[in-house]
Structure formats: C-alpha cells, structure tokens
Symmetry: C2
Subunit: 178 residues, 2 copies
C-alpha cells in the first residue's frame, strides 16, 4: 500500500470481526515497528502479543469502567502490549524519551497493520500495575500502550484534524506557516 | 512510495546537499504528520519551520559541543522544531503522553520526507531554553525534537536492529514470540 494512502486511510478501530490474525502477519508488523529510529538506536521497545482470551479479558479490566475501548481488547483476537525500558532511552529536562521512541515504533506498527487490512486503536488509560500482573512484566519496564489488533467491522469515518495553519509556524512562534 | 519500502529504506541522515526544499513539499509532510492518532485526538503537536540561516546556526549552538548532528542543522536548508503542549495530552502514572503523541506524528513526517527524497535525523539532546529563545516558543510548550530536512548527500547504511526474538514475547514476559 502507498505510504500516503496508509497515512490518510488509517483509523482508530474499536469494533472487530472475529477473523483470526496469523503469526506471519504479526511478525510483519513487528518487523515494521523495529525499523523505527530511536534514541542512540537503543530500541527501548518491547512487544507482548496476547491471544489468550482470559488474558485479554483481564487486560480489558485494567481499563477504567465503561471505557468503550475495553470491548475491543476482548473482541479482537490479538492484543499488543507495548512496553519500554527507560534505561534504554534518554531523559532530557524531565522529558522521558522512551515515550517518544515508543511512539515512533507504534506508528510504524499501526500503519503496517492498516496496510494488511487490520485495525488498531492505541490505549493509554489503563492501570499499569494490573497490566503488569496479567503479563508478568518486570518492575523496571513501563507499559506504554495497549492496542487490539484484528479485522475491523467497518472503516470508521475520519476524525477532524487541526488545520496546518493552527499547528505550524514559520521561523518564529505565532507566524503561521500557511 | 510503498509503505514498507519507506519503513525499510528510511535512514537518519546527517549530511545534506544544499538543494532547496519548497513550501509545497513541507506542507505535504506536515499534512502527513497531522493525520497521526493522538491522546483523545487532542493533537498536541506544533511544528516550527525554520529556513533562516542565522536561526539555524543558533539552533545548532543549542546542541552540546562536538555533537555531530549540529552540522546537519546548518547544512540542510530547513530545520523542523517539533513542540508539544502537554495540556493537550494526558498524563498517566508519571508518563507524559505528549511525548508519545509527538512520536506518532514525527514518524509520519520522517516517512513522508523519505518518500519525497528528503532526509531527516531527529535530535533530542539540546538545551531546551536556548531553542525556545531562538524561536520565541512560549514557556508552557515543550520542545520535543529538532530535525534537519534536506536532500541527503547519500543514503547511509542501515543501522543494526534487535531481532524480533529479542523484543517480542508471546502471552507472558520472557516467552519469545519467535
């Protein structure tokens, strides 16, 4: 799939069909994710691939009650748990760059998923300790995001985006780029 | 360009030709960046497009001395300063999700740049206050990354990546995916 097509057509998907997703496909997505650039090329990211239904139910319970995203974690056949090792990234002026690194890899994963006909929807609002317990994640790693992975029930409509004039400046803050 | 081709062929570029990069191209990259998913679709990202040579020199001086990336900021005709508004993103268990949001948008920008024949190399190691001063960035925004943007002198070789067996687990931490 064309890069711009993937970027423009990708959506956050919350409803999934039960169709299976095979290991070969998941490996393709992980391969895309690991090619992202990272702080000093340290590659702090780790990925947990969860298929087990009980585990996915338990992961969904780590979300706040009535969070609409919880359902997707059970409905989709796979959940990806994105973790990071802060010691394999940098910290500058209070900014934890493992989160930026994780974002770079995650975006390649979600674009590749879309190109393969799969939907994702990254979730950050969960109880980290609960997720760690479900998947035996060590204390010194951080859980950055969860996403269901599966065949979308339908293509959701695009959510509005800020215009370039609202987010881009020229030379100095406040001088609109456009 | 095919998505996987962009993901596999993109490199961090540190040496640039002086060829100009026109506004239309930059707008295309910003358009790709703004389509990224973000915390509650808040889109905390802001982009500063710096062409002015004195400003680029000043930005390069915000890097630690002898940082090899500093040269690229002067050599390339454009520097993109990626900022974020933390109040337009979330915080969970000490994790500042504006950094993840910024990473998602930045990855779409660097992939699109590669597809357009342009090189980037994101830099996190700089003095934030100096960068803010050069571009009049308000106190409540964070400067997340700088990247030069220009025509690469050559395609650098690929840096080694961890094998999937080192970064991906199945069901539980420690059970290799592959």
């Amino acid at each position: 799939m064309d890069l711009y097509e993937a970027i423009k057509e990708r959506r956050s998907v919350r409803k999934f069909n039960p169709d299976p997703v095979d290991d070969g496909l998941i490996e393709k997505l992980l391969d895309a994710a690991r090619m992202a650039p990272s702080w000093s090329n340290y590659q702090c990211w780790r990925f947990l691939v969860v298929r087990d239904e009980d585990k996915r139910e338990n992961l969904s319970r780590s979300l706040p009650e009535n969070n609409p995203a919880a359902k997707g974690l059970v409905q989709a056949p796979v959940v990806i748990v994105l973790c990071a090792d802060p010691s394999e990234s940098g910290k500058q002026d209070g900014k934890d760059y493992y989160l930026l690194d994780a974002g770079l890899a995650l975006e390649q994963l979600v674009l590749a998923a879309h190109a393969e006909g799969l939907g994702t929807c990254w979730i950050a609002w969960f109880d980290e300790e609960s997720v760690k317990k479900v998947c035996s994640i060590p204390e010194d790693y951080r859980v950055v995001a969860l996403t269901p992975l599966g065949v979308p029930q339908k293509q959701p409509s695009v959510k509005p985006r800020k215009d370039i004039s609202e987010i881009a400046y020229r030379e100095e803050w406040g001088q609109s780029f456009k």
